[in-house]
């Protein structure tokens, strides 16, 4: 792998609450190469959003106990002053959020909000920044961008708002774009358009894209590598084919089985039994063991390490490699 643009080492984000310590992120490591597409998959509460809000510096030590390293172009963001961090946010790394309506300020014009992002980092005349904003709106596929730039977010449709958010994020050509469930709040027909747009712009701008989602279907088409998160930890990591055709973790199996396939005869979806664990009282041993159909005694006591089993393919599970292969091909692929 080329020199990573973003590398996270053993990141921990713990929140002190009156009920106890919430271990939202508990020892997460990963690296992203320039121009790469990384998918991050997990249920709500798996720590995927919190990890990347921390990477962006949007969760700070004022609110949480943060440990580990976040290296951007080799520099540790966690050790930076607020002002240094601010100069990277929006310019080096940008983020697109889930709900584009609430993520845009309702009282300012869309163009003005993009201009603001430009002027926060670049010293240029307002007129020039405005032209840049309009040009960017055109590039994300908004027709009549001059006119649209002067409108307010409520005059945009859901898909257009997300396009505007993407324009805002990419206007300064960042090295990393973090998209936190960018299509969850949108119509299904619009979802594909937005994801294709992100893909196209990634090639134009050579931006690394981190796509956070709970939808493995989205991941299949729009990412190169995937990491699956559960209860604040990475439980499986590999390239796309590893995850889809050779998955080595029971939690990923569960996710794969709960995807619906319209093209196959299927009686009913198979949901993962139980619900995600409380992040205050994380089950001992493997956090997934209470929901795992293949649980063994060792799972209840020992936390499994994230071990590389093939080149670039790692999983955190006590099952033997042979067992995992067998179960996957019979139970999971046999079903599909």
């Amino acid at each position: 792998m080329a020199e990573p643009i973003l590398e996270v080492r053993d990141l921990k984000v713990h929140f002190d609450t009156p009920d106890g310590v919430v271990k939202a992120v508990d020892g997460v490591s990963f690296a992203v190469a320039p121009g790469e597409r990384l998918g991050v998959v997990g249920e709500s509460g798996s720590g995927k959003s919190v990890s990347f809000l921390t990477v962006m510096g949007l969760i700070t030590r004022r609110y949480a106990k943060i440990e580990g390293e976040v290296l951007f172009r080799g520099r540790d963001l966690l050790g930076m002053s607020a002002d240094e961090m601010r100069s990277i946010r929006g310019k080096g790394m940008a983020m697109v959020f889930q709900d584009p309506l609430s993520s845009l300020h309702p009282l300012y014009r869309v163009g003005g909000q993009i201009v603001e992002a430009v002027l926060a980092h670049e010293d240029m005349p307002k007129k020039q920044a405005w032209d840049l904003a309009v040009d960017m709106l055109r590039r994300v596929g908004i027709s009549r961008p001059d006119e649209r730039a002067r409108q307010y977010p409520h005059e945009f449709s859901g898909g257009m708002r997300q396009r505007a958010m993407i324009a805002m994020a990419l206007v300064l050509n960042p090295d990393v774009l973090i998209a936190d469930e960018p299509t969850t709040a949108l119509d299904v027909t619009v979802q594909a358009q937005i994801l294709d747009l992100i893909d196209r712009l990634r090639q134009e701008f050579r931006t690394a894209v981190i796509l956070i989602t709970h939808d493995l279907g989205v991941v299949a088409e729009h990412t190169d590598r995937v990491q699956v998160m559960y209860a604040g930890k990475v439980v499986e990591r590999g390239n796309r084919d590893h995850i889809y055709y050779e998955s080595l973790h029971p939690y990923t199996w569960g996710l794969l089985q709960s995807i619906s396939h319209i093209d196959r005869k299927q009686d009913r979806l198979r949901p993962i039994k139980g619900s995600p664990p409380s992040l205050i009282f994380v089950p001992p041993g493997c956090a997934f063991h209470p929901r795992c159909p293949y649980v063994m005694d060792v799972c209840k006591q020992q936390v499994p390490d994230l071990l590389e089993e093939d080149y670039g393919h790692a999983s955190a599970c006590h099952l033997s490699r042979e067992d995992k292969r067998k179960i996957f091909s019979v139970e999971v692929q046999g079903q599909r």
Partner: protein, 321 residues
Amino acid sequence: MVRYIIRRMLWVVVVILMITLFAFLVFYVMPPGDPAVSFAGRRPTADTLEQVRENLGLDKPTYVQYGLFVKQLFLGDEYGWPGFGFSFASQVSVRDQLFNRVGVTLQLAVGAVIVWLAIGIPIGVLSALKRRSKADRLAMGFALFGVSTPVFWLGLMGLFVFWYKLGWAPGTGYIPFGESPFQWFTHMLMPWFVVALLFAAFYARMVRGNMIEVMSEDYIRTARAKGLPERTVVVKHGLRAGLTPIVTMVGLDFAQLIGGAIVTERVFNLPGLGNATVDAVNRGDLPVVLGVTVFAALAITIMNLLVDIAYAYLDPRVRYT
């Protein structure tokens, strides 16, 4: 927008008509006594009473009296437009009396609004940003004190401490600005603060609540994600959204004060509308009471309209048709 304003103006007329009707019923029809008795001197003869009734227009049937009142209000009377008739007690124009007095009340209200916004907004914003800090607790303690302190107590305590004991304040009464700007200012200062304290406390709490809510909005996170300096995030994105609802409150609270800050004007002996109201009620001077009522109602309905219009400019999502 123009159509909307015209329609609202017509509604103002309707509301004013309704209010005059209710006010007229309450003050002229429902009380059991005969107003003429109070103004006919001691032990009036039947003839005198008859005379007084005729002079005051009380001899006519009630509906004629009301019709006359409305006619005067919309078309003016011998004293000018709008006509409020003449005072039973002093036999002079109610209109002139109201216009003389509303100036003092306006000065009190405008000054108080400035003071309470200048105190309430910064306290509310800082409290919201430094939530659960000592400063926040102190500020909310002040707010609790402010909302629970009766104005008459505060006014009297202010006079006792700053005038009687310390000798810093000049005491009560009103000095016109034209006579001595400095004296005017020193005489108005304490009334301003006394009126403002309750509102300042109330606004501090409201601004704090609004700001806490706004600062947790997604668009604030977006503003930070863009790399804006924290000050810009708070002022341009947070305050702009957090203070917009306050505009409504300021308009209505201000309008209410124009109707007369009765207790404050009384305590500080300011010749404003509120003081006039109390005097008129005590003397049974019905035209003055009715005049003040209509005046206050007008202030509130018109301010309401202005606030709604202002809102269309402040929030692009609001559109009137």
